[in-house]
Symmetry: C2
């Protein structure tokens, strides 16, 4: 083994145990959960425990001209955390302390490696709530959530990660430590650097501390299920709910394919003959029953052939759990679709204005037919944010190519409908071309200028986003 | 009159009527409503009607090396819209059309010159609500609100302007037209350029179109007044309300000085013997009466000597109107404080974490005593965002100097308490030094790098913010 000067520098700064080059470990850290993306061969995984150690890593990497790829739990779905050839993978999982919870100012200060669920649990013990709840919440980290501006099911009423980030500590490419934002409810001192880093997918700096705002514990909610004979009818119901001024705290859609997949994965009596199911909840206190009745009315008017309210919290929790199982169930379903178990799932993510949801759902069905692939659709209907999941046979290049074509057609349709190429998963490697189409050459030039301003040598996560 | 090539260019691009050089008009456009700030002598005021005309102005100014200062209604309180010597004042008030209101997607698309109240009225007719409500809402423009990230009274529950800006059209210093953001509820495609421009106070580009998100019409609310024997007791009540998990839709504080000023300005039976009054509202539907009772309990426990609920909507509206009169009433009060009517008001703006509100109020009283000035405090208590208003005799330089000293001491105290030098008025010219102290040299360097990346020649609003 030849001596590598950067590794020597890292080991002397962080200690041997924090600088890992075991080939198996490197392999497990090469990529996040995104499909259709390449991954390079990293030099090492380093696990700093303090901001000073992050600074040491960044300075050493800069000195040696080696790229740095920040990583959280690698649950991302766009390849933003994938390795770049020769890179230092800067794993933030060891910086996992909750530094402060303040119930009066309703803020928490955490290190980036804190798992979303750990923060949620800790603040719940003080009667508080950290709303952002990405599907990966039991394993993904706050740092990763911030870097990708993660969404989730509560976002339809309570907003995405960026709404809850008040301030950051960031290590810049220069090795300087920047503090952005504030601990106050309001503040307009200078540019909103905090939100420039939120969602920047590790390309502008390394997040080493996050100050988040919290809400009081959520209200009890009432839950309803509506079953539709067509997906477009479900889309119409979503538009109608918005038009009527209702504000559900959850409004999720599962299509026929996902209903079958979930029922096969864990039988719970879902209507597998339905073309679409809407799962809605309201948490409007004394008005909740009226609001739920309003949603039921809209669903019936849009053509739902069955609408029923959960009779108790246990039934509501079971329905929510069914929705949370959509992803693993659909993975299993995809695998089983092909005899040799070679089926896989290409997960897409598109958001359109709420009023265009029905058109999106119809369009995805048309694309599935034209491309000759099976596409199941699930997602955050109330936000117009859908995940069309494309079943492909990984052993058959033609099948994968058809899936890729469907993926691109969905992107094209989303933009045509006034939408965006990513509602919550981010750009990473997966959607660089689509970002360029969405924001155009002026937008890309502005991105490049900002990157150049903050990271002129291209140290952080090169090749990602744009 | 000598020919000025830039004016010729502007007149040929926009027509004579849109390029104004009348000395009186220039004088009225020299400054916004900020105190303690300098203003330069502008070359001209131009009033474009289209984005193409803005592009023409920006390109012409860049060609001639003349700075451009974007202006809305000039109601700002930090000097961000003040003229720079020789500058083109780019008044956006003629671009005042509401382009679209979509009740399903709950968005509106507006030109920057639309007055806040005009947008609020237009969307209300469709059962919708645009919450941000700065004190200037009847005259300030959406473009100005976005450029300064304006706050208001509803922000304690519903957030400030940036929470409602989905996308922008911006003319860059290069003359290119950038479109940022989206029309969808969620989206994470690339850097959050939208929020980089929000609050950038005209230093990065000229906003020519704004896409805002809307909410359903607000709920009916219940209103309560609590009267306190000390300001600190009112501050303690605010912390207690937060700690109990209550979410008032309005939580405002008026101190003794403001109560007297309002009562003198328009007698309405306010308790002028009180040291502080909290005005609270809740809009939590069926739970509102319980929540109001909870707030009353907390206020009583904190030492309120009187707590009463508004008996009807008319009384609640009158109380709100009293709060809205605080600013003009205090201006009048300040003028009348000195025999020759030479009194004036230096308006400060500071925000601290909610738990530090009582300490801030105590500290401001101490500063008033130490500096030998009268300071009235009013503001958005629920956000920890206070406006200490300092009464000075403009005819007496020593009085103005004492006021300036008090102003700076309040800034220093705010930062010591973990706060920010501006909760909602912005930096402009007034707080450049305090911004530098708050964000430090690394923060300033990042601001400079971003400014350099987007406006390398320093065309837009030079000398503002940092």
């Amino acid at each position: 083994m030849t001596a590598i000067p950067l590794l020597d520098d890292l080991r002397s700064a962080l200690g041997d145990a924090a600088v890992l080059t075991d080939p198996d470990l490197l392999r497990t850290h090469e990529r996040d959960e995104a499909d259709l993306c390449t991954a390079g061969k990293p030099l090492a995984v380093v696990r700093p425990r303090t901001t000073a150690e992050v600074v040491a890593v960044v300075r050493a990497a800069a000195r040696h001209g080696v790229p740095v790829v920040p990583q959280g739990a690698r649950t991302g779905l766009a390849g933003a955390a994938n390795a770049v050839d020769g890179a230092v993978l800067l794993s933030m999982v060891a910086m996992d302390r909750i530094l402060e919870i303040d119930p009066v100012s309703r803020i928490a200060v955490v290190q980036p490696g804190v798992v979303n669920a750990a923060l949620a649990d800790a603040v719940a013990k003080q009667g508080l709530w950290y709303p952002p709840d990405p599907g990966s919440w039991e394993s993904s980290t706050i740092g990763g959530n911030v870097a990708t501006n993660a969404g989730g099911m509560c976002c339809v009423k309570y907003g995405v990660t960026t709404e809850y980030v008040l301030g950051l500590e960031v290590v810049l490419a220069s090795g300087e430590v920047l503090r952005t934002g504030r601990r106050t409810a309001k503040g307009v001192a200078g540019y909103d650097l905090t939100r420039l880093f939120v969602g920047s997918e590790g390309t502008l700096g390394v997040i080493t501390e996050v100050t988040v705002s919290l809400r009081p514990a959520p209200e009890d909610s009432l839950t309803l299920v509506a079953v539709f004979p067509t997906t477009a009818a479900a889309g119409t119901a979503v538009a109608g709910i918005a038009e009527r001024g209702l504000t559900p705290s959850l409004l999720e859609l599962l299509d026929h394919t996902h209903l079958r997949a979930i029922e096969a994965y864990r039988p719970m009596g879902l209507r597998t003959d339905a073309q679409a199911l809407l799962l809605a909840a309201v948490d409007t206190g004394g008005r909740a029953a009226d609001d739920l009745a309003g949603i039921a009315e809209v669903c019936t008017a849009a053509g739902a052939d069955e609408v029923y309210a959960a009779t108790d919290a246990a039934e509501a929790a079971a329905l929510l759990q069914a929705r949370r199982l959509a992803h693993p169930a659909m993975e299993k379903f995809a695998a089983d679709t092909f005899p040799a178990g070679t089926g896989g799932l290409v997960i897409d993510d598109v958001a359109v204005p709420r009023g265009a949801l029905a058109a999106l759902l119809d369009g995805v069905a048309r694309i599935a037919e034209e491309c000759g692939v099976l596409i199941g659709v699930v997602g955050h209907a109330g936000d117009g944010n859908m995940h069309p999941n494309i079943v492909v046979d990984r052993a058959d290049p033609a099948s994968v190519a058809r899936g890729r074509r469907a993926f691109d057609e969905i992107m094209r349709l989303g933009l045509e409908l006034g939408g965006t190429c990513t509602g919550e998963h981010g750009v990473g490697l997966l959607k660089r071309d689509w970002l360029a189409r969405e924001i155009g050459p002026v937008g890309i030039r502005v991105h490049q200028a900002i990157k150049q301003a903050l990271d002129p040598a291209g140290l952080f996560n090169p090749g990602k986003v744009f």
